[in-house]
Symmetry: C2
Subunit: 288 residues, 2 copies
C-alpha cells in the first residue's frame, strides 16, 4: 500500500513537471514577472490540491493525466491567494515556508501583479482540458462566494470573537472551496458518474475541514522549524481558530472526526481509494 | 446611420443590464465585496470593450446577444485592471472619472480583493458561453504576455526614456491585447469564418493603437473636467507617451493613421460595419 507521503510526493513531482513545462511555454513575458511566478510556485508547497485532483481521476478512471490541467490550475490559484494574502495590506507576512514572501523579495507591485498573473493563467491552463464546466467550477470556488469571499470574511473577523459556526463558514469559503473543487474537477475530467462525483465531493469537503482544523492546531503546537513561519501567528493576529474556540483537545477530536467522515464518504470505493484514505489520516497526524 | 456615440450608448446600456443581472445572481457574498464590485463596475466607463465584442457579433451574425458573456467578461477584466493599477504601490491614483478610487473608498485590502474577484468571476461568466477557446483567448490577453505583462513593462519604464517601438509594445500588451480580444471573442462566439476573424482582429489591433495614442494626447490637451482626473498625470509620473516622444502634431497624425488603417481592415464588410467605421473616427476625435 502506498503511504500518504509517497502518494503526495509522486503527485507533487508530476505536477511540478507540468507546471515547469507550462512556465517554459510562456513567451514575451517580462523577466521579473516570470521570476516572481516561478519563485512563488516553487516555494516548497505540499501540492495537496493537485494531488486531490490527480488522485480523484486515478480512482475514477485509472489515469490521472486527464486531470493535469485542473491540477496545475488549482495550484496556481492557491499560490496566487497566498501571495495576495501575505501583502502588507492583508496579513502582512514576511516569511512563508521559511523564505521571504513575494512582496519582500520583489516589491509590492510585482507581488500583486504576479498573483494576478497566476490567477489569470490558471484559467488558460484549465481551459486546455476543453471543458467549460471546469472553468466555471474553478471560478466559483475561487471567487466571491468562495476563496476571495472567505478572505474578506477573515479580514472582517480579526480582533472579533466569532462563533464556531461562523469559523466553519469562513474556512469553507477561504480554504474549503478550493480543496473541494480540486476533487470535483478531477472527477469531472475523469467522467465520474453523478453518485461517484457526489461521494468524492463529500470527501473533499470533509478533508478540507480536517486540514483546516489540523492547520490551526499546528499553528499552536508546531515548531517554527517544521512550519517555516513563526508559531502562534494566528493568535498574534487575533484570528479566531479551532483551538482558541474549543481548546486543543476538542479541536483534535473534531479533526479526527472530520477525517473519519472523509474516509466514510469513500465507502462505495474499493482499494483504488486507499491512497485517499491514507491521506485523510495523514492530514490530521502530520507535524508540518 | 447610427453615430458612434449612439452605438456606444446602446451597447453600454445592454452590457450594464447584463452586468447588473450577473451581480444580482451572486449569493453568499460579503456585503463589502459586493459593494466594491458594483462601485468599480458602474463608475461611468464608456464600455468600449463590450461594444467591440457585441458589435463584432452583430456584424457577423446580426445578433449581438451571443457575445454578451464575452462583453461582460472583458469589462470585468478591464475594471479589475483599473482597480489594481490605481493602488498605492502601482500608479497611486486617488481619483478616477472624478470619483475616489476603490482603495480610497474601501481601503487597500478590499480594493485588491475586489479586483481579484472581478478577474475571477470574469472567467465564470465567459465560460457560460460554453466555448473553452474564449477562456483561453481572454486569459492570454489578460495575462503574462498581455495586460499584466504590459503593466510590469509600464512600471519598469517609469522615469526612463523608451523608444517609440518600446512604447508601442508596452501599449500593445497593456491596453491593446484586451481590446483586440474583445473583437476576437465576439467574432468567435458569432462563428466568424477565419478570414472574417482575421480582418476583425486587425481592426481590433488598429483601433486599440488609435485609442491609446488619443488617450495620451487627451492627457496633455484635455481638461480636468472632461477627463475626471488631473491633466498631465502621465508627465507627472514620468511616463513615456506618444506626445512626449513625437510631439502633439505627429501624435495626432499617428492616431488618424491608425484609425484609417482600422477602417481599411473592414473593407470586406458592407454597411453592417458602418458603426465600427464611425467608432474608429470617434475614438481619435473624442474629447474625453
Amino acid at each position: 500500500m502506498t503511504t500518504a507521503i509517497e502518494f503526495l510526493r509522486e503527485k507533487a513531482a508530476r505536477t511540478d513537471q507540468a507546471l515547469r513545462e507550462y512556465l517554459a511555454s510562456w513567451r514575451d513575458v517580462p523577466d521579473t514577472l516570470g521570476e516572481a511566478a516561478e519563485y512563488t510556485l516553487f516555494a516548497g508547497g505540499k501540492r495537496l490540491r493537485p494531488a486531490l485532483a490527480l488522485g480523484t481521476a486515478e480512482i475514477i478512471c485509472g489515469d490521472d493525466a486527464v486531470a493535469m490541467p485542473a491540477a496545475c490550475a488549482v495550484e496556481m490559484i492557491h499560490t496566487y491567494s497566498l501571495v495576495h494574502d501575505d501583502l502588507p495590506s492583508m496579513d502582512d507576512d514576511d516569511l512563508r515556508r521559511g523564505q521571504p514572501t513575494a512582496h519582500v523579495k520583489f516589491g509590492e507591485a510585482i507581488a500583486i501583479l504576479a498573483g494576478d498573473a497566476l490567477l489569470t493563467m490558471a484559467f488558460d491552463i484549465a481551459a486546455r482540458a476543453g471543458r467549460s464546466e471546469i472553468v466555471r467550477e474553478l471560478a466559483q470556488a475561487a471567487g466571491v462566494a468562495g476563496m476571495v469571499g472567505g478572505q474578506v470574511i477573515d479580514l472582517e473577523s480579526e480582533n472579533r470573537h466569532i462563533s464556531l459556526e461562523a469559523l466553519r463558514h469562513l474556512h469553507a469559503c477561504k480554504t474549503g472551496a478550493l480543496i473541494r473543487v480540486s476533487v470535483r474537477c478531477g472527477g469531472i475530467l475523469a467522467n465520474a458518474g453523478p453518485e461517484q462525483l457526489e461521494a468524492l465531493t463529500r470527501y473533499g469537503e470533509r478533508i478540507g475541514l480536517a486540514f483546516q482544523i489540523a492547520d490551526d492546531i499546528l499553528d499552536v503546537v508546531g515548531t517554527e522549524e517544521t512550519l517555516g513561519k513563526p508559531v502562534g501567528s494566528d493568535e498574534a493576529k487575533h484570528k479566531s481558530t479551532y483551538p482558541a474556540l474549543v481548546g486543543i483537545a476538542r479541536a483534535r477530536e473534531l479533526a479526527r472526526e472530520a477525517a473519519d467522515n472523509a474516509i466514510d464518504a469513500l465507502k462505495a470505493f474499493g482499494p483504488e481509494a486507499d491512497s485517499f484514505r491514507a491521506l485523510a489520516r495523514f492530514i490530521v497526524d502530520r507535524e508540518s
